[in-house]
């Protein structure tokens, strides 16, 4: 059994104290413990805690069976006013004024529209300015706030941890549980700190930080723990950058990833449609400022990286832990411990069609995807556009730039970014998950190789037989222009 993280036993089914403006406790706690403890509805020895859910994000893929379950059992949705819905995974990124051509996709999207209508849940359909990737719209509406518990039937829900929220992905049975009860049963988790000290070299981005973390933690280093990203490099990131880092927490197996809220967080939130206003804003700020790991709190696991060592990264294999610096060459399986790791490396090289020793800068790419819940926000598009400006994509290169939401698209167009992309030969698309997981028409074909700003390089993730390399938006744009993996500095 995992050690119990918290030390103060509480009575069974203890009545929960009302939250005052700041968590009051004499016991040193980490950020995640503070947020967790503020959401305990019931705690019973030997049982998982029953946690209250402040926000439930719903999309078309993981919800239909949950709504069926609610209907079949004669239950109802307890808090439609704490639930928000959008369609993102299946939606096409062109011709969105026409019906969805794929009949099964169309039925899934229609099912969500019917379900949200029946249960009174706010829904943003394709074409609505507020529609977008579920993890992009929560923050931009101001629904994602520090100290909240946020869940969604999607493993990249960890994105919202960038605000100091406890946010994690759940399965469809748990989606049904949250719809019916607005709570979840959750066993205790360990705590994990991931500190990135110093500062990043010029040209390195939040995506490179999280890829470097994955190189350190591999795909399992976070299992059973909630990670807190800390240190000067993390504090210097914008909210977009922090979302990129937290987004990939699940890729090293963490339950969630969090960053303590600070003035950067508050400045992002102030004035957003659902952010607190007036006296509520002041009360919220006072509470939020207390959401920091206490100086004398300790973590069960600690990881330290030096910002100065983090140059642009790229994955070479078929899981996100198989990552190297872009300046490196394709590794040899012999560099890995004999057994599981070496076998996995050999299989990955074969699937990826790569030869050990080839410099990554010499690997040719035929598709570039800029988008996904990892990297489709305005800052990501600005970074890619800065590289694309005045340049032209390589001959034969297929490129997709897919904004994360209708609002991101509108902002990008107001700034003229779409013109920069189009002039450079990039394909400027409508918002959605798109080629991140290829549930819509945007897919890789057998053997095609992509530089992708998304989060998973699994076999077939972007289309059957497709080969995916994860990179930052700046590297993706530079690679589109060079035709082989490149950083912006490599371009003439």
């Amino acid at each position: 059994m995992k050690p119990q993280v918290r030390s103060s036993p509480k009575a069974s089914h203890s009545a929960r104290p009302q939250i005052t403006s700041i968590s009051v406790s004499t016991e040193a706690k980490t950020l995640s413990q503070k947020v967790w403890d503020d959401h305990i509805v019931t705690r019973e020895d030997g049982q998982p805690d029953l946690l209250y859910v402040d926000l439930h994000l719903v999309h078309e893929v993981t919800s239909p069976q949950a709504f069926d379950g609610i209907r079949e059992s004669g239950r109802t949705v307890r808090r439609p006013d704490l639930t928000i819905s959008t369609e993102d995974h299946n939606v096409p990124t062109e011709d969105i004024d026409k019906p969805i051509a794929d009949e099964i996709s169309a039925k899934q999207v229609d099912t969500l529209r019917v379900n949200t209508e029946e249960f009174g849940i706010t829904h943003y359909p394709m074409g609505d300015i507020n529609q977008g990737i579920v993890h992009v719209i929560g923050p931009e509406q101001g629904l994602t706030q520090p100290g909240m518990t946020i869940v969604c039937g999607d493993s990249h829900t960890s994105t919202h941890g960038a605000f100091g929220a406890l946010a994690f992905g759940i399965g469809t049975s748990e989606v049904e549980h949250v719809l019916a009860t607005q709570t979840l049963l959750q066993p205790a988790q360990e705590t994990m700190s991931i500190t990135v000290d110093g500062e990043l070299p010029a040209g390195s981005t939040a995506k490179d930080v999280v890829l470097a973390i994955l190189g350190e933690c591999d795909t399992g280093g976070g299992i059973g723990a909630i990670a807190e990203f800390r240190g000067p490099v993390i504090e210097a990131l914008s909210m977009e950058g922090r979302m990129t880092v937290c987004n990939m927490s699940i890729e090293f197996g963490a339950k969630a990833g969090m960053i303590a809220p600070d003035d950067t967080t508050f400045a992002y939130l102030e004035g957003r449609p659902q952010a607190p206003k007036g006296a509520d804003w002041e009360r919220a700020l006072e509470y939020w400022r207390g959401l920091r790991t206490d100086a004398d709190a300790t973590f069960d696991r600690e990881v330290l990286l030096h910002g100065a060592d983090i140059s642009p990264h790229v994955t070479w294999g078929t899981n996100p832990g198989q990552v190297i610096r872009l300046s490196d060459s394709v590794p040899s399986p012999d560099e890995y411990e004999a057994g599981v790791a070496r076998d996995a490396a050999a299989r990955a090289l074969e699937y990826m069609g790569l030869t050990a020793g080839t410099p990554m800068r010499e690997v040719a790419v035929d598709t570039v995807f800029i988008g996904s819940c990892t990297n489709s926000r305005i800052e990501d598009l600005r970074a890619a556009a800065a590289v694309a400006r005045g340049r032209t994509v390589a001959n034969g290169m297929r490129t997709l730039v897919v904004p994360g939401s209708g609002l991101v698209k509108e902002q990008a167009e107001a700034e003229g970014l779409h013109t920069i992309f189009i002039d450079a030969g990039f394909d400027w698309r409508e918002p959605g998950c798109s080629m991140c997981l290829a549930m819509n028409p945007d897919k890789l074909k057998e053997g095609e190789r992509s530089a992708s700003t998304s989060n998973r390089n699994f076999e077939g993730r972007q289309g059957r037989g497709g080969r995916t390399h994860l990179v930052s938006p700046a590297v993706a744009a530079a690679t589109a222009i060079a035709g082989t993996f490149a950083t912006p500095e490599d371009l003439a």
Binding site: H13, R16, Q18, I19, V41, G46, Q47, P48, L50, Y52, V61, T62, P64, G69, I84, H89, N90, S105, K107, Q108, I121, T122, G142, L143, G153, D154, S155, G169, I170, G171, T172, S173, E174, H177, A180, Q182, T183, L185, G220, I223, I250, G253, K255, Q274, D280, A284, Y287, N319, V340, A341, D343, A344, R347, M439, R456, F458, E459, G460, R461, R464
Partner: protein
């Protein structure tokens, strides 16, 4: 879910690490709005390969899936659990599971048995050598046994999950019995928390 006490049977040895849920059930299959019909999608891309282990006659009828480390990483899709169950597996054994997959197993009565890497390797070799080898997974005793190998190991299963497995309980029904506590919590929530209205 249906009660589960003992899973006994033969084993498919899937000797790969990091089998993510995209491999278990590719995303095209996630477009379905039903909870059934996922058996054909299980490992859909690998099953086209005639040499894939599940296509070997000697492993037909097995009801336990033995994977390499990091089984079920990645996406939260519960469809992965449904596909494994609907194909006919009642238990999955690995030295390490993706956390969301493992949790999803507990909601559907699929027994996820985590064993040490040494036991996993020993089982893998034994089942590859002898496809008729039987395992017994006992939910009540929290043990995995391979009598032919002299293996009997305990596995971790929390009391609450074990209780639901043995009695086939729906945890939504149990939580709804805590309605008063949920009401009390809601009454104390700060007013600055957002709504979606």
């Amino acid at each position: 879910m249906e009660p589960v006490h003992i899973v006994q049977g033969t084993v498919v040895p899937l000797d790969r690490s990091d089998v993510d849920t995209d491999q278990i059930i590719p995303s095209d299959w996630l477009k379905r709005v039903e909870r059934t019909g996922f058996d054909k999608g299980l490992f859909a891309e690998w099953r086209d390969d005639p040499t894939f282990v599940m296509n070997q006659d000697e492993y037909l009828g097995a009801n336990i899936l033995l994977g390499g480390p990091n089984f079920g990483t990645g996406s939260s899709r519960e469809h992965a659990v449904w596909a494994i169950q609907q194909y006919g597996f009642a238990a999955v054994v690995s030295s390490r599971f993706g956390p969301i997959f493992r949790n999803n197993c507990t909601k559907n009565g699929l027994v996820a048995v985590q064993v040490s890497p040494e036991v996993s390797d020993q089982l893998m070799a034994a089942v590859q050598a002898d496809p008729t080898l039987e395992l017994t997974i006992d939910v009540e005793r929290r043990t995995l046994e391979a009598p032919a190998l002299g293996i009997e190991v305990d596995f971790e299963l929390s009391d609450s999950v074990q209780h639901r497995f043995l009695h086939g309980l729906d945890d939504i029904g149990l939580t709804l019995q805590q309605g008063d506590s949920i009401d009390a919590f809601e009454a104390g929530r700060p007013t600055f928390r957002p709504t979606t209205r």
